[in-house]
Amino acid sequence: MLSVIAEVTGSLGAVGYGLAAIGPGIGIGIIFGNGVQAIARQPEAYGVIRQNMFIGFALAEALALLGFVAPFVFK
């Protein structure tokens, strides 16, 4: 039988949220960065670009929020 090799104690929820926020952080940065660039290049397409920007933002952000909720669920 495998005994415990390594163990972490403490506020694992906070650590988990920190890990979960890395990816969406990068993703949201890329989305808004490219969105602003697209608007600057083509201001007349502002409506469509903003629309897709927010859809992408919402999808990326959902992952971070799942990381935020998970510690409360799996206590």
């Binding site: 629309q51 927010f54 933002f57 919402a58 952000e61 959902a62 929020l65 799942l66 935020f68 909720v69």
Partner: protein, 275 residues
């Protein structure tokens, strides 16, 4: 704890340099004592603060937009102007940008959804109410289920009951080898993940915002003690509460917008099967 909601109302005698640590608020601030309890046909109903806020928001929406729209005049009154501007906002900024002209018949649905979510979120920073009902998972879940039923029904009606699923799972122009992986992923993401993330996104945002505000205001009360560090820390935390309240307002409006926007994009996906 006998009355969890009274703990965060500043009634704890726990301050800096006292013998107790920082009383960090947790999930107990989302639990309320029931005010009225009754049962109809064996189903138990318990009315607590979130339910009352929800009913209040519904009442506000019904009364306000009845005044705005029931007797429209050519020269609009103030209330009618506000109603029209908000309707045009939902139609032009959300519906037409996503669905196009074909989406005009879904605007009443999107409009109701937007204002219901927005006002429920907004209750989180209204003094006296100060609780967003959407931070409890059931309310966004029911809204997401309504959205789910809507876009499934529209999809089956416009593309045919079976065609809807095959169009969704087997998009044209995809190599046959990829389809083995793509089809189940598409099915899962459209049928199960979509309503789930729609509900979780709204709930988690409001949950986090409410918790954040509570942490800062509890810290402000906790730090308040006769010492330089205490006064400075308390003032800084109190100021932070005010700033975060402003930030919350932005998040609340944005989340209502995103909720409606995603609903509109799901409906658009059901109407046409190109993507």
């Amino acid at each position: 704890m006998a009355n969890p909601s009274s703990v965060v109302a500043g009634e704890f005698d726990c301050h800096l340099y006292g013998n107790c640590g920082f009383p960090a608020p947790g999930t107990e601030i989302f639990q309320f004592n029931e005010i009225v309890h009754f049962s109809v046909f064996g189903i138990d109903f318990s009315i607590a603060k979130p339910t009352i806020l929800l009913l209040l928001v519904s009442l506000i929406i019904i009364v306000f937009f009845s005044i705005a729209f029931l007797k429209p005049k050519l020269v609009p009154s103030k209330v009618q102007s506000i109603g029209e501007v908000s309707y045009v906002f939902v139609r032009d900024q959300i519906s037409r940008e996503t669905i196009g002209k074909a989406g005009d018949r879904f605007v009443p649905f999107l409009f109701a959804l937007f204002f219901f979510v927005f006002l429920n979120n907004f209750m989180g920073i209204v003094p006296g109410a100060q609780f967003p009902a959407t931070s409890l998972f059931v309310y966004p879940l029911v809204l997401a289920l309504i959205v789910w039923v809507t876009y499934m029904f529209i999809g089956m009606k416009h593309q045919g009951p079976l065609k809807f699923f095959t169009n969704m799972m087997f998009p044209p122009g995809v190599p046959a080898g990829v389809l083995g992986i793509l089809a189940p992923i598409e099915f899962l993401s459209n049928i199960i993940v979509r309503p789930f993330t729609l509900a979780v996104r709204l709930m988690a945002n409001m949950f986090a915002g409410h918790l954040l505000l509570t942490v800062f205001i509890v810290a402000s009360i906790y730090l308040f003690s006769p010492s330089v560090i205490g006064i400075l820390g308390s003032a800084a935390s109190g100021l932070m509460t005010v700033i975060m309240t402003g930030f919350e307002f932005m998040i609340e409006a944005l989340q209502a917008y995103i909720f409606t926007l995603l609903t509109a994009s799901y409906i658009a996906g059901s109407l046409s099967h190109e993507h």
